[in-house]
């Protein structure tokens, strides 16, 4: 009787042990992801040349969620296509004595996995700490790397086009690139986009962009650090029609502001 009891216990214990072994093996199955990761050393030069953002995946061999991202997120076809086409994708092992240590210190990495989205000049746009599934990852990248502002004309081109099409020039002048991504969602609202594009040629000037600084000095006020930036409307002949400082940037308020500034610019002087 006792022997039968112990045999049953042994069966359960063996099944449990087999499941443990299988789970442990699964945990350490090598990644089958086929994302073409670029070398960190040249990624920023490539990004500057191709006018793309840099996506940095900071991972570790011993990090469970990193391995899960390999098996799920980075194996997703859309994610792979995005990392291939829309950004320069770089992967950094935190245990790497040279690059890992440099990235950890430079970007103050505090947990794994950390996803960083950087400008070609290594300025951080945003970060995510922890696991992201395919859908979350696509939203996270698309939110910024493919922003509304990237569809706007560059400044001298916008002025030329405004003159040719007899439209006004709508300038968003911001302190730095980080604000661009904070404002992007608001500017992507269809109502805001329609308002701007119907009457104006929109363009973006950044105070921290050396190429933009000369235009800021020439045409608009240098944005005060009290504000995140300014909205301007110019005539095609580059006469200042309206200027509004930006303090907060929730979608609804911005829509009202854009509506107001364009309506005011329409009024005769």
């Amino acid at each position: 009787m006792n022997q039968r009891r112990y045999n049953e216990i042994k069966i359960f214990a063996v099944i449990g042990a087999l499941c443990t072994i299988a789970a442990a093996v699964m945990e350490y199955v090598p990644s089958s992801a086929t994302v073409q990761w670029q070398p960190y050393a040249t990624a920023f030069q490539t990004a500057a040349r191709e006018n793309k953002k840099v996506y940095v995946d900071v991972y570790a061999e011993w990090c469970g969620p990193c391995k899960l991202m390999d098996r799920t997120t980075f194996a997703n076809d859309t994610v792979m296509a995005m990392l291939q086409n829309d950004v320069i994708a770089v992967r950094v092992n935190i245990d790497d004595e040279k690059i890992g240590a440099e990235v950890k210190k430079k970007f103050n990495i505090q947990a794994m996995p950390t996803s960083l989205l950087l400008m070609p000049d290594q300025m951080e746009i945003k970060r995510n700490v922890g696991y992201m599934d395919g859908t979350q990852f696509i939203d996270w990248i698309a939110d910024t790397a493919v922003s509304e502002f990237s569809r706007w004309d560059d400044f001298p081109g916008a002025a030329t086009r405004a003159a040719a099409e007899h439209k006004k020039i709508f300038i968003v002048a911001l302190q730095d690139s980080l604000k661009v991504y904070e404002l992007d969602r608001a500017f992507r609202k269809p109502a805001v986009k329609r308002l701007i594009r119907d009457k104006c040629i929109p363009t973006l000037l950044l105070n921290n962009n050396t190429g933009h600084q000369k235009f800021i000095r020439q045409y608009v006020l240098l944005p005060s650090i009290d504000f995140i930036g300014y909205l301007y409307v110019f005539s095609p002949a580059m006469e200042l029609l309206q200027a509004v400082p930006l303090r907060n940037y929730d979608g609804l308020r911005l829509q009202e502001m854009v509506q107001q500034i364009i309506a005011d610019a329409e009024k005769p002087a």
């Binding site: 009891r5 359960f12 449990g16 499941c19 443990t20 699964m26 599934d133």
Partner: protein, 251 residues
């Protein structure tokens, strides 16, 4: 099988004391509030999301009370001795005991979901999508997690007196969460600490449920960890029960 059923009926009647019924009804009431609010506010729009989150605020508390002294109390008050001298085996006793607590826990859970659905059915502003297959998967994983917790509690109860098994499980779980909190904030780059923290408390089925809810790939690894813990602790509970010293004379 007949012995199991008779024993289950007897244990079921013993379990549902007036105090337990009042406690269960209170838990159903408390579980209903967040479930209904989440559906009305649009945070929960699918049946699968409702069944995954229905009793999340009360389930652990319900588990602690329902499984308190699951075996230890019966050893202390002589009930185990009474059963064992009536040709009931130790295995039959502990399996039935776990089944009774499981039934009780699932009763509270099912009633919470059913009443929540009934309440929101009177609210024309709430629309719930009945994704039955996803809901079934969520229920199965929920059952598996609840059963694993009960097995764990029964195993501990064989070795400690009275309701201390619940305190032990609570302490174990709290330790796991504390470790997770500390490691992720302070020692996130210490290899062994990060690996260890994931295995302090068995949550395979729960992790699998979360993975499916978040549209991740099929959580095979999590399920394997869940089954590994379930079988090992079940074997451990049977072994511990076989080694409990009960003076039965002619067992």
């Amino acid at each position: 099988m007949k012995t199991y059923f008779i024993l289950w009926k007897a244990e079921f009647k013993r379990f549902w004391t007036i105090g337990m019924i009042i406690f269960a009804m209170t838990m159903i009431g408390l579980g209903l509030i967040p479930s209904v609010v989440m559906m009305q506010s649009g945070m929960v729009k699918k049946l699968s999301a409702l069944v995954a989150s229905a009793d999340q605020f009360v389930s652990f508390f319900t588990f602690l009370v329902f499984s308190a002294g699951i075996v230890g109390a019966d050893i202390k008050n002589g009930w185990v001795r009474t059963l064992l001298i009536r040709s009931i085996t130790r295995q039959q006793y502990i399996t039935t005991k776990m089944a009774v607590v499981f039934t009780a826990q699932m009763t509270v859970y099912v009633l919470t979901v059913a009443i929540a659905l009934l309440i929101v059915s009177f609210d024309p502003t709430v629309t719930i999508m009945f994704d039955l297959s996803a809901a079934m998967v969520a229920i199965v994983l929920k059952c598996a997690h609840v059963f694993l917790m009960i097995v764990l509690s029964a195993f501990i109860s064989c070795g400690v007196q009275g309701a201390f098994n619940s305190l032990f499980v609570y302490g174990w779980m709290t330790l796991s969460q504390a470790m997770d909190f500390i490691v992720m904030r302070k020692y996130w780059d210490v290899h062994w600490a990060v690996v260890l923290k994931d295995y302090i408390f068995p949550t395979g089925f729960e992790d699998a449920q979360h993975a499916l809810a978040a549209n991740m790939a099929f959580p095979l690894t999590e399920l394997l960890w869940g089954f590994a813990a379930l079988f090992i602790f079940f074997a451990a509970a049977l072994y511990a029960m076989n080694n409990v010293v009960v003076d039965t004379g002619s067992e």
